[in-house]
């Protein structure tokens, strides 16, 4: 069976750097940090008191009040970016078959605030259950994909992938696979997350996963720096319209890039710690290269998982050196989480967008906040520290790894006819 080619024809982004793809890219290439003190709740008793929140988000700009009330923030974010991507792809009634348009979304957690509020509400009562009828359909992670399908009438495959911080990349890979197998023509993919809540910050703090650099939030996310002390929690969403190549050509769609392949693997090692030798990371990049039928030397840019944790950054860098050999020193590496923070289940979506825009614009966004070299990293590796670098990017690889030991990589390429 011949596999079909899959291209990206639309993008949408709502990130701590801005509320559109254009604003996101502008922030990325200018090295802007999205971190600031937490506004969503009183964090004064928390070890970490900052995050990368969406700035000035007003649900009523996008939804009527009644609609907004029935949707957790992570679902609102999903709908906002899906709209930008659908418009960007110029998907209009008549130029697609709605039965062959799917939605495969990613969210690591789902409606955490909704869950937290309902449980708190119950705990404050006298034991009489007074759960809101919208509690479950607001909270479940898959409602994001459901709501997108309801809004647009997309009746193809519809579900959400859950693999913690790898969720959106898993969603993109599933979408890619369904399209290349001929099961759908178009899939709205991506991911969204809104975990900046008491439970989210408190839970990650308890794991000692978050940076506690409260005196300087904007320099806290510093992947590959000697003084990195954990990740910065982010929120937001990214959407990608994946489309079968001939379908896209037939309707005259603009094409950002082609998805060449993807890989998946598991560390099979520990619930939260990465494999010390980066075994899962190594395997997943190898799997992706094999699936894409390209040599390691063809990769120009790796958008790394690079969360700014002491262990994770080291094992990922080791894995890159093992997989790419001497070419590891020729390619550009960057962690855009230095700017956006870590959007958990949405990270793969916004980082896929960063990778695609690096291809489109010939610019590699930087790893900001580099102050001090860490001898754990080979100085020959080019982490694109502090400033964006101009470079023709034909092929970009994006890594995401999740708690549980889930690893995913996806490879995008400039469209060659």
């Amino acid at each position: 069976m011949e596999l079909k080619r899959v291209v990206v024809t639309g993008l949408g982004a709502l990130t701590p750097l801005g509320s559109t793809v254009a604003e996101y890219w502008d922030g990325l290439t200018n090295g802007v940090s999205g971190a600031a003190p937490i506004t969503r709740f009183d964090a004064s008793k928390f070890k970490t008191q900052f995050a990368c929140e969406i700035k000035g988000y007003d649900p009523e700009k996008y939804f009527d009040r009644k609609e907004a009330r029935k949707m957790d923030l992570f679902t609102q974010f999903a709908l906002v970016v899906a709209e930008e991507a659908v418009q960007d792809a110029n998907l209009t009634e008549g130029n697609y078959d709605p039965d062959r348009v799917g939605v495969i979304w990613g969210s690591g957690i789902g409606g955490l605030r909704t869950f937290q509020e309902e449980c708190v509400n119950f705990a404050h009562g006298d034991g009489t259950p007074r759960f809101n009828p919208f509690f479950i359909p607001k909270m479940i992670a898959d409602i994001s994909a459901g709501q997108i399908s309801i809004k647009y009438g997309f009746r193809g495959p519809n579900f959400v992938t859950v693999s913690a911080c790898a969720s959106a990349t898993n969603a993109i890979l599933d979408a890619f696979n369904y399209i290349r197998l001929g099961i759908a023509d178009v899939i709205v993919s991506g991911g969204s997350e809104a975990a900046v809540t008491e439970a989210g910050i408190g839970g990650f703090n308890a794991l000692k996963a978050l940076s506690e650099r409260n005196d300087s939030p904007e320099t806290a996310s510093r992947p590959f720096d000697k003084d990195r002390d954990g990740f910065v929690l982010g929120e937001g969403a990214g959407a990608l319209i994946l489309e079968e190549y001939e379908h896209a050509k037939a309707r005259g769609a603009k094409i950002y890039a082609e998805i060449l392949g993807g890989g998946m693997s598991a560390d099979a090692y520990h619930i939260t710690a990465p494999h010390p030798e980066g075994l899962g990371a190594l395997n997943v990049m190898k799997n992706a290269l094999r699936d894409a039928h390209i040599k390691p030397e063809e990769v120009d840019y790796i958008n790394v998982h690079g969360t700014s944790t002491p262990l994770g950054d080291v094992s990922e860098a080791k894995a890159i050196e093992t997989v790419f050999g001497d070419h590891a020193y020729e390619l550009n590496i960057s962690s855009t989480k230095s700017m956006t923070g870590h959007l958990l289940g949405a990270a793969g979506a916004i980082e896929a967008i960063a990778s695609i825009l690096a291809i489109k614009n010939g610019v590699v966004p930087p790893t900001i906040n580099h102050f001090t070299d860490d001898e754990s990293f080979n100085p020959k590796l080019n982490f694109t520290f502090n400033k964006a670098q101009k470079r023709e990017v034909k092929v970009a690889l994006s890594n995401t790894f999740g708690f549980g030991g889930h690893n995913t990589s996806v490879i995008f390429r400039q469209l060659n006819d």
Binding site: D64, R130, P133, F134
Partner: protein, 78 residues
């Protein structure tokens, strides 16, 4: 309008996102005010909370209009 009727109206406007002028005694939650079955459940729960009453399911089924809600609550509210 009674104090109960005023409160009922305010809850309906808030939860269903409708205009005050639409909330007439005859208005049906589902047919006129755009509520689905989950909205109706939520409304009943809000009435229970606001008026400190417990509305059994078989009686909740008979509360389909604004007027029916007001009269039930005027009779049962503590």
């Amino acid at each position: 309008m009674s104090e109960i009727a005023e409160k009922v109206k305010a809850i309906i406007i808030d939860k269903l996102g409708v205009e005050e002028s639409e909330v007439t005694p005859e208005a049906s939650f589902t047919n006129d005010l755009g509520a689905d079955s989950l909205d109706t459940v939520e409304l009943i729960m809000e009435f229970e909370k606001e008026f400190n009453v417990s509305i059994p399911d078989d009686q909740a089924e008979n509360i389909a209009t604004v007027g029916q809600a007001v009269s039930y609550l005027e009779e049962h509210a503590k």
